[in-house]
Subunit: 213 residues, 2 copies
DNA sequence: TTTAGTATCACACAATTGTGTGAGAAAAGC
DNA sequence: GCTTTTCTCACACAATTGTGTGATACTAAA
């Protein structure tokens, strides 16, 4: 039987080593490569065939969400499983929207992880048990809860968020972006509404949570 | 030769599995147990001898720093290596202060990790290369830089930080703590100075970073 | 081409935050 | 017991943030 070709992507070398070691023992899975960020993933896919991509959500350079989108466009046959510590239900929907096949928490057991890869290979959706519960829970709470949980934040808005996170004042942000303070204030206003927060503190917390910055 | 007895502590099961797999191949290291938080570590140490403790800095229930302190009091012979993603030089000094033997970044290679454990076992201090550089750098910048890098934040101040993180206004915090707004403002003022930040946003970011909240 | 979204700006005003300074009482540490 | 830290509060004022409302221009999608 042909082994399932798996590509690992995580910015932590130890994580990669650990995963490799885990899969080394399994006869049906073969780790064909590793990558430290999304760009390396795309590069790798150009040259080598891959069945399942195990992807860390949090990565520098190009994060998991963005990578998934790109991979799905250029290699729609590759199954993507997101691996992350994040257990916020909020992100799941956008995950499947960009074309991920599965989503596993890093604190899942290795058996679950291996099974997840096999399931993904067979085209099944994969979800951490913990997350499945969360999903069902949230469905119970609101009949039609939040569709696109993570709202679309524009490029400009993200620039503003990043500068706020660096303790810039509105005036300083305006100077940095060569716009008026009014404009910056408007961006902030819109961000507050979009992100459903009360002030900059809440915004930055959520931005970090969502991997925006 | 007797194997080095290693206890692993991390809140992510996959991390534990990965580390176990890595060490399984090494003849001089034996993983004698795993723990998901500091409390479990202390519990384990009561019953079993351990040479080296590999500890995740970020853990729920009882974090790495706190655990190190406890371990050092009750089992001073156990070498503690902190394993973390955090690369802020700021935390290193306080680490050694509480009695850790070493500090490794999670993106270190597995070879480095194994060597680190052996070094720690022999009583050597262990530092990620990356961090050593940082330390030297910071020594260059300021002859006598920041001694106790993470300042002592009082209980009350932490309460304030937590409430700010929850988007409470000064008035709301005052109400919640049954004190005047002036008092809350003073706490904030003191926190800004202690934490060396410009505003609440910076404070919350650093608080998250330091594991205060 | 009409609509929806993005990015820009103005003006005004309320609310909140942050700063400077000083100080008293209680708790903790030595 | 004495000292230091912690927690408390006041008053005043400057700076910044956040809100409400409306408007123009450009772009991309339907």
């Amino acid at each position: 039987m042909e082994k399932i070709k798996v590509l690992l992507a995580d910015d932590h070398q130890i994580m990669l080593d650990g995963l490799k070691a885990i899969f080394a023992k399994d006869k049906s899975i073969e780790v064909v490569g590793t990558a430290n960020n999304g760009l390396e993933v795309l590069e790798f896919l150009k040259n080598e065939p891959v069945d399942v991509l195990l992807l860390d959500l949090q990565m520098p350079v190009m994060d998991g969400l963005e990578t998934t989108m790109h991979v799905n466009k250029s290699h729609p046959d590759v199954r993507v499983i997101m691996l992350t510590t994040n257990d916020e239900g909020s992100i799941i929907t956008s995950l499947f929207k960009v074309g991920a096949t599965g989503y596993l928490l890093k604190n899942a057991s290795k058996e679950y992880l291996i099974q997840g890869i096999k399931d993904a290979f067979e085209g099944k959706k994969v979800l951490s048990a913990h997350l499945t519960e969360k999903m069902i829970e949230s469905l119970h709470d609101n009949p039609k809860p939040r569709e696109g949980e993570i709202p679309k934040i524009t490029k400009r808005e993200i620039e503003v968020v990043k500068l706020i996170a660096q303790e810039f004042t509105t005036q300083e942000i305006a100077d940095a972006l060569f716009v008026s303070t009014n404009t910056v204030a408007t961006h902030k206003r819109n961000l507050f509404v979009k992100m459903d927060v009360k002030n900059s503190v809440g915004m930055i917390k959520k931005a970090v949570d969502w991997g925006l910055i």
